[in-house]
């Protein structure tokens, strides 16, 4: 099922939680809504589900305008952040709930429900746990019961709110891989919300980066990491450093001095670069500063460098250096970004 979101706006007591958001989700895609808390990602997910309604704008499921359809009519599978399993029902009753509450004309017979519940349990690898209650399950098992329950109604799309948020790191990693396989097997259009960029980049076909009620960028993991479209995306995804620069006659100037990189289009801007896109260099036209700390990171070393700022607090940047580079504490190093982006003011 293809989902199209057109110019959605959502206000809570006049405070805009989403501001003119548009997004096209392809059929069978696995999409991550990524952003810090308060960015509106969960609000967007709830609007797609029909758990909230937009102040303005439309949501299409395929060609059908679902904007005013109730959550029941939309037939979406929603997995809640804390699973919201019914604690007084067994695992089997939880999963079968969506079938049991159907009107008698479309309700499958009891034996059929039992069969489907058992198939779903096998699908989420929890066969044999039918009679357990939610409080007798581990976090990861609850997560999968919630997923099976959402899948039982044969939803048109699958929506997951912070699916791994409440799990410990190891289970998170396992479930992440498992969810990807699950998605590839079932082929459902899936949207999940996360504030964990690693999760979003690893799992999703496309990542929707959100900030302050707006979509900052939509793209593959490579797109958002290698070609960030805004200062927010550059600093939110991965590590980065930023410095105020000026471009004059094609040369980039920092504190009035050329730093050995060039750019077209004159004017002031913010220079962004990643720690790994830096070369130590021994020439005058380069950035330079004092090493304040260095730490080992797997196969390389990260040096933290303070760049003096005429009596103001120094600029702080991080660069990745070879293991044996001369970066003793207090020593002065010179370096140049090899890949960078300048966002104009």
């Amino acid at each position: 099922m293809e989902v199209t979101i057109n110019n959605i706006r959502k206000e809570f007591e006049r405070f805009p939680a989403l501001n003119d958001v548009s997004l096209k989700i392809g059929s069978g895609e696995l999409i991550a809504l990524l952003g810090p808390s308060g960015s509106g990602k969960t609000t967007l997910l709830r609007l797609i589900a029909g758990l909230d309604f937009p102040t303005a704008g439309q949501i299409f499921f395929g060609a059908e305008d679902a904007s005013h359809h109730s959550v029941q009519e939309r037939n979406v599978g929603f997995v809640f952040q804390h699973y919201a399993l019914f604690r007084h029902m067994t695992v089997a009753e939880n999963i079968g709930f969506g079938l049991k509450v159907r009107p008698s004309s479309s309700r499958p017979p009891k034996t059929e429900i039992r069969k489907r519940v058992s198939n779903l349990l096998d699908m989420v690898q929890l066969g044999g746990l039918e009679k357990r209650y939610p409080n007798q399950l581990s976090g990861g098992q609850r997560q999968r019961v919630a997923l099976a329950r959402a899948m039982a109604i044969e939803p048109r799309i699958l929506l997951l709110d912070e699916p791994f948020g409440a799990l410990d790191a190891k289970v998170r990693k396992e479930l992440r891989r498992w969810l990807r396989e699950f998605h590839d097997r079932t082929g459902h259009t899936t949207v999940f919300v996360t504030h964990d960029q690693e999760e979003a980049l690893e799992l999703a076909d496309r990542v929707v980066v959100m900030s302050q009620g707006k979509i900052e960028q939509v793209g593959s993991a490579d797109d958002v990491y290698d070609r960030p479209g805004s200062p927010f995306v550059f600093s939110f995804i991965g590590e980065s450093s930023q410095l105020p620069v000026e471009v004059k006659d094609g040369t980039v100037l920092f504190q009035g001095q050329p730093i050995g990189i060039s750019e077209t289009g004159d004017g002031a801007g913010e220079l962004f670069f990643r720690p790994e896109d830096v070369n130590l260099i021994d020439t005058q036209d380069a950035l330079f500063g004092k090493v304040t700390a260095s730490r080992r990171l797997a196969g390389t070393r990260i040096a933290e460098i303070d760049i003096a700022n005429n009596g103001h607090p120094p600029y702080h940047v991080e660069v990745e250096v070879p293991l044996h580079a001369p970066v003793e504490l207090g020593s002065e190093v010179r370096f140049r970004p090899t890949r960078w982006k300048i966002f104009r003011k």
Binding site: A84, H88, V101
Partner: protein
């Protein structure tokens, strides 16, 4: 090294043994004197002239009528307040609306004003000097000094019990389970029946028990609106007072012991529920 040679450590919150014993004795003496002793004396007095006399006092027509009336009033007031309390706490816990804080304060009103005043309010509303009273009377409906007045006063006084019990519980549970049920295609009614009600059933039962205990035991408000027509508008607490004023001690305490027994049963049920309730909560949401 032997154990006894090690210095003894005491938790900072722990008291010296003497202080501990004193505190326990003090609270036990207080409880015994103020709670246990009166309760025992009710039963002692009731059975002072033997079980035959006790039984006589309870089946005597006026006493039987009082017991009947009390049960009937409770049977009307409790279901009404079950419905009102459920509706009010549902509205308060699950929805945001203007005037919510005011509504919560209003629910507490019957707790904060004297029951006598609650009764007087109904006298003002339905008395012969009021607007409503004569009108209803012309239609043949008696409110004051009749059963409807007693029911109204009881409903008013016992209103907060169910709502007070449910509001914190429902607020704590939030709307996640309901949203899950709706997203799975359940209707509003199905969601209430299969999800909300089972989630609150123990709290609801607890509130109903408290409400019932108060409905049967209410004296002040009922006393004002009943007119105390013996055998017709006297509930058990009123009947006890009448007997007491006639120096009919054994009969007064016999009826009183029945009320006390009701209270004890309620307490026992409440304790049982709390055990169950506590266990249910411990295994709840994570």
């Amino acid at each position: 090294m032997s154990r006894s040679s090690q210095p003894k450590f005491r938790s900072p919150a722990d008291e010296r043994p003497l202080a501990k014993i004193l505190l326990i004795l003090l609270s036990l003496a207080f409880l015994g004197f103020f709670l246990f002793l009166p309760l025992v004396s009710v039963f002692v007095e009731a059975f002072r002239k033997g079980i035959g006399e006790y039984y006589e006092a309870l089946i005597e027509p006026d006493a039987a009528a009082a017991i009947h009336l009390t049960l009937m009033v409770a049977a009307i007031a409790v279901p009404l307040n079950l419905a009102f309390g459920l509706a009010a706490s549902w509205a308060i816990a699950k929805f945001e609306f203007k005037g919510k804080a005011f509504l919560i304060t209003l629910i507490d009103l019957p707790f904060s004003i004297s029951p006598v005043i609650s009764g007087l309010v109904y006298v003002l509303l339905f008395g012969s000097g009021s607007l409503l009273g004569p009108l209803l009377k012309s239609w043949g409906i008696e409110i004051l000094f009749a059963v409807p007045g007693i029911v109204l006063a009881t409903v008013f006084v016992t209103f907060p019990f169910v709502a007070r019990e449910l509001i914190p519980l429902m607020e704590d549970q939030g709307t996640g389970d309901e949203e899950a049920a709706l997203s799975l295609g359940a209707s509003g009614w199905q969601t209430f029946w299969y999800v909300t009600l089972p989630n609150i059933k123990w709290g609801l039962l607890y509130g109903v028990l408290l409400c019932n205990a108060r409905a049967m035991g209410e004296f002040g408000a009922v006393s004002v609106v009943s007119g105390r027509i013996r055998g017709i508008t006297t509930t058990m607490p009123l009947h006890v007072e009448i007997l007491y004023n006639e120096y009919n001690m054994v009969a007064a305490f016999a009826v009183a012991s029945l009320l006390a027994a009701l209270a004890l049963v309620t307490l026992a049920l409440k304790t049982l529920l709390e055990l169950r309730f506590g266990a249910g909560n411990a295994g709840g949401r994570h």
